[in-house]
Amino acid sequence: MQTEIKKEVLVILEKVVDILRKKDIRDIIELKHLSDATIGNASIFQDQDSISIGVLVYSFAKVLERGFQNEKLYDKVFKLVERAKDSLMKNDIDNYRICIKDIFTIIKQMDSRLKMFIEQVLDKAKIQKGSRIFAQGISLARVADMLNISRWELMNYVGKTKIADTEYEGIPVKERIKLVRDLFQ
């Protein structure tokens, strides 16, 4: 893991530990914002660590937003986040990644009645993070590959946002219309 990625992930983990310790539902919004903090690195380095921490924090925020009440699992996640943070501080990257994987597993098992919801949350988290990376200028196809989601899903989501609405100084519309007129006479 590159130093700047590690630094950024550590900042996020420290904040997440703080938020989870307080158990204040109002902090969920902060958690969601926090999940975007690694997008810059995710776009440039396209590493799984920057991507997975974003997806993880966003998914967990969504699950909490729904009013998740299982104290035992909440404590488990909290302990694992702390362990992940400590491992990263000690530069034990393997253990850090194991902790992150375990947190994902717990989120997936949080409530069997919510299974469908949690799957949707994880998908939504990937799509949401993917759209943020796309907004930085990386192609949709590349983002879909990075996050292992389909272009069908990503295009459908991005199309309904203003993300692709950037100023565009490419070929003028008139020229492109002339081209299609020539092609389909």
Binding site: E4, G40, S43, I44, F45, Q46, A135, Q136, G137, I138, S139, L140, A141, R142, A144, D145, S150, R151, W152, E153, L154, M155, N156, V158, G159, K160, A164, D165, T166, E167, Y168, E169, G170, I171, V173, K174, R176, I177, L179, V180, R181, L183, F184, Q185
Partner: protein, 229 residues
């Protein structure tokens, strides 16, 4: 023979808006072939067919392969694709790192188009289109969004420019606009509205935009105004 090569994007935009039928009619007018690369077929059909999401859209798209509106390009382009991908993904650099901005599948679309000397490629994606048409605009976008300096490797850019200089790019919205001009959408004209044709064209373009085709609101307004409706 005239040839168009499609990336996955425009097929997705058209399919999610139930507009693939337009391609079948336009192909007759085009009097040539519409190709998709193998990896694009995987993205469009083979992968979604395995799951639940977009399975129907994939099956629907498959019918356009069966009726030969779209054909899969089967010739070998792996090396050309890798070479092109390497070039594109070494044009921009941020914080000492080359930016991998495109994916192999979409690059394969370009590789096929170059190999087959296509009349145009159909790409709805902003990034790939900008790399081909206006790489300096893409540099500005990357710089602004990533909030970091983006260097250009002019050696890669020049090499890439040389390869794609004659390649023309169109989008699903351009195809739909032409279909509209040719009267393919005439059954949809809302005659009871004040400016029925304008309403219809605007609706078509917005539907494709919302389906993921990269087009700005200004460009939609420009097209509607060019069509003088």
């Amino acid at each position: 023979m005239k040839i168009l090569v499609f990336d996955a994007g425009p097929i997705i935009s058209l399919a999610t808006n139930s507009m693939l039928w337009v391609l079948k009619i336009l192909k007759k007018r085009f009097d040539g072939e519409f190709y998709i690369p193998e990896s694009i077929k995987y993205e469009l059909i083979d992968r979604p067919i395995e799951g639940k999401k977009f399975k129907f859209e994939a099956l629907h798209t498959l019918t356009y392969l069966r009726n030969r509106t779209l054909k899969v390009y089967k010739k070998h382009v792996r090396e050309d694709t890798n070479k092109l991908a390497e070039l594109i993904n070494s044009i921009f650099r941020a914080r000492g790192q080359y930016l991998a901005i495109v994916q192999l599948g979409e690059v394969e679309t370009i590789a096929v188009a170059l190999q087959i000397k296509a009349d145009a490629v159909v790409i709805d994606e902003r990034t790939m289109r900008l790399v081909i048409e206006s790489p300096l605009v893409l540099q500005k976008i990357l710089q602004k969004k990533m909030r970091t300096n983006i260097e250009i490797n002019y050696k890669s850019l020049t090499q890439f420019n040389r390869l794609v200089k004659s390649l023309k790019v169109i989008r699903s919205v351009d195809i739909a606009t032409r279909a509209f001009e040719l009267g393919l959408f005439k059954n949809y004209i809302p005659h009871d509205m004040t400016a029925p044709k304008k309403e219809l064209l605007t609706a078509i373009l917005w539907a494709l935009k919302l389906g993921g085709c990269s087009i700005s609101q200004e460009e939609i307004d420009d097209i509607v105004s060019i069509e003088s409706l």
